[in-house]
Amino acid sequence: MRGIPLFPEAASSFASEVDALYLFIVAISAFFTVAVSVAVIFFGIRYRRRHADEVGAHIEGSLPLELAWSIIPTLIAMVMFVWGAKLFYEMRRPPAESLQIYAVGKQWMWKFQHQGGQREINELHVPTGRPIRVLVTSEDVLHDLYFPAFRTKIDAIPGRYMPLWFTPTKPGRYHIFCAEYCGTKHSGMIGTVIVMEPQQYQDWLAGGASEGTMAERGAKLFNDLACTTCHLDSGQGRGPSLKDIVGKAVELNDGSTAVVDEGYLRESILNSQARVVKGFTPLMPTFQGLISEEGLAALIEHIKSLSPQAAAQAPALVPASAPVSAAGTPAAPAQGARR
C-alpha cells in the first residue's frame, strides 16, 4: 500500500490557498485538542481521589480566566474569519478576461457548452493559466458542480444561473462530482475535467463545433423565435433594442434599475413580465418551456455578442443583476432570475 493520501490533487490557483488555510485551522484545532486533553488527563492523575471522604477545593471561578478563554479564542476565530472571507471574496469574483462556459446539470449527467459551440457530456476540457467562468444551472432538481482538485463548487439550481470560476494550473484529468443529492444515480453523476496546455486546448477546440459558435446558433434561434419582430436595433420596436446593453444598468417600469447580465437576460426571456424596461409595455410572451437550457445559453451569447465593448470587459461580480425590491432596499445581488 502506498499509504493513505491526505490531500486531493492541487490543480487550480485556489488549491494552495485553500490548503494553507486548512492547515492553519488544523494546527489551531490540534493545539486546543492536545492542550485540553493533556490538562484533563494530568488533572485526572494529579487530583485522583486518595481517601473515600476527600472532597475538592472550594473554588467559585475566576473572572480574568473566563475573560482570557473567551477573548483569546475569539481573536483566533476572527483571524480564521477574515482569512476565509478574503479567499471567498476572491472565489466569487471572476477576472474580466475569463473564458465563459455554460454547465447544465440534469438527472444524472453534466452537460457543458463552450462559447465556440463545442458541447460535452460528463467531460470538460479547459486550458491551464486562464480563468474559467462557468455559469451553472439545472434542468430538474438541485445538483452541485464540484471540482475537488480546484477546491471549489457551486449548487446548480433550476431557474437560475450560478457562477463559479477557477484558473487551472496543472494539466491532468481530475474528478467532477455532483455534491448535492439528486436522486437514484447521484453517485453516478460524475465526470472528468481534462486540464490541457493552452496549445493542446486550441487543437481540441478546433476538432469540435460543427454547428457554429454559441452566438451563431443563438442568432439563428433569435430569428426562429421571431425575436427580431419587436427587438429592432433602431429602438423603435415594441421591445427595447438589444444593442450595447450588456453590463449596463437599465431603468425599469417600477422605477428601480437592473444591470443587464446573464441572469437578467435569462429572466427576461423565461419570465418576461418580471422586470420590464421603462417605457415598454409587458407584451412579450414567456418562453418558459419553449426553449432548452442549451438554446437559452446560445440566445444569451448572441445577445452578448451585440455588446462588443461589454464582451471585452466582461462582468465583475457575476451575475450582478440587483433587483430593487418594493421596499426600496437592494435585494440580493448575484443570482439572477428571482421570483
Binding site: D53, L65, F88, K153, T184
Partner: protein
Amino acid sequence: METPVYPAHNYLSNGHGLKSWLLTKDHKRIAVLYLISISIFFLLGGLFAVGIRLELTTPDGDLFQPDTYNKFFTLHGVIMVFFFLIPSVPAVIGNFLIPPMIGAKDLAFPRINLLSWYLYVVGGLFTLFAIVAGGVDTGWTFYTPYSSASSSTNVTATALGVFIAGFSSILTGLNFIVTIHRMRAPGLHWFKLPLFIWAHYATSLIQVLGTPVVAITIVMIFVERAFGFGIFDPQRGGDPVLMQHLFWFYSHPAVYIMILPALGVISEIVSTFSRKRIFGYSFVAFSSLAIAVFGFIVWAHHMFVAGITTYAAMVFSFLSFSVAIPSAVKVFNWAATMHRGSLSFETPMLYVYGFFGLFLIGGLTGLFLATLGTDIHLHDTYFVVAHFHYIMVGGAIMGYLGGLHFWWPKMFGRMYSEFWSRISAILVFVGFNLTFFPQFVLGYMGMPRRYHMYPDEFQVLNVLSSAGASVLGIGYILPVLYFAYSLKKGEVAGNNPWGASGLEWRTQSPPLTENFVEVPTDIPEAYEYTPQVIREAKLV
C-alpha cells in the same frame, strides 16, 4: 457502611399491568416509556447505518440497489435525528430528573407530558409506515424540488411523521419551561439550580421557538406535493432555496436541542466525580442561553454554495464563529473544575473523558465549515458527515450514555456491572474515532456525501471506517445487555451511590411516585461538596 435496601414502595411498584403504564401521568414512568421507545428507534436507525457501512466497504454499488442505499441513509438520518437524538436526553433523562432536581413532585402539566409521548409514538408510526410501504429517499433534509416534485417515494408519510413528532417536542419544551419557572422548591432560586436545569431551559426555548418553523415547512412541502401549489418548485414559480432557509432556521438550532442537554449532563457528572463546584457556574449557565440565542442566527452557513450573496455569506460566517465561543467556554470551565478536585473514574466519568475528546474534535472541525474559504471545498463532503457525527453522536450520545449510567441507579435503584460498563465506554470511544476520523480525510480528499459508489482511491479509508463501525456497534449493544441484567440482579444502589450533591439524590432510589415524602426546604448552593455530604451519602 450499611447495606442499602431496595425500597418496597416506589414509582415502579405503584401500579402494575400495561394500563398503569399507558395511562400514567408520572413523569418518571413517561421517561421510561420514552427510554424504551427511543431505544427501539435507535436500534432501527443503527440497522440502516449497518447497511450503509457494509455497502461502502467496496467502491462499486454491489450490495444494494442505488435506490435502496438512498433510502437507507435517508431513514438513518430521519430516525436518528427526529426519533432518537432530539428526544434522547430531554425526554428520558430530563423528564425523569427535572422534577426531583428542583424539588417538585412532577412536571407542571403531567397529562400534556403523556400526550407528548403519544404524539411521539404516532409520529414514529407514520415513519414506520413509510418504511414498510417502501421507504423514502430524499435525505433527512427533504431538499426541494427533489422532495416536492421529483421523488416518487413515501415523502408525505415520513414528513407527516416528523411533523407530528415535532409537536411532541414543542409540548415537552413548554412543559419544562413552565416547570422550571413555577415548580421550584421554596428557596431554590435560579442560581442555585443545577446546570442541567439551565441547559434544559435553554433547550426548551429552542424547541418552542424553532420547531413550529419546521412544521410550517413540512406543511408547505405537503401542500406542494398534494395540491401542486408552487412554493419551492421553480417549474411552478417557486423558490427551492427558500425551503433551505426555512429548514435550517429550525434544523441548525435543532443541533443545539440535541447537544445542549448533553452538555448539562456533563456538568453534573464532572462536578460529582470531582466533588467540586463547577468552575465559573454563571458562565456555564449563561453560555447555554448564549448558544440557544446565537443558534438561531447562523442557519445560512449551511447554504454558502446555495446562492446566498457574498455579503450574506460573510455575515453568516462571522455569526457562526460567535456560537463557537460559548461552547469553548464550557469546555474550559469543565477542565478547570477538575483542577484541585477529588477525581474518581467510575463509568459516567469515563464517558465524560470520551465526551471531551469527541466534542473537542467535533467543535473544532466546525471552524473549517464556518470559515468561508474552506467550506466551499468541504461543503457536502464526508468532512461534514464526520463533523456532525462528532457533535451529534460523539457529543450528544456520549452525554446521553454518560447520563444514563450516572442516573441509572436513581432511576431503577440498582447498579449495573462496573466492569462491562467501562468496557463499553472504551469501545464506544475507540470505535467512534475509528469510524468517523477517516471520514474527515475522505471529505478533504473530496468524497461527496450520500454516495452509493465512489472512486477506488477512497476505499482504504472507507474500509477503515466500516471496521470502526463494527467496534462502535458492540459498544452500543453492551449497555442494553448489562442494563437489562441489572434491573433484577444488580446490586441495590441506595439513595446516593456517587455522593452527589443534587436534590434528586436525597430521595430514595427508585423514587416514590411523589418523588419526596416532604418537599425539601433546606436548599444548599449548587454543587456543595463537603465531607458532611459524603458522610450523609454513607460512602464513608
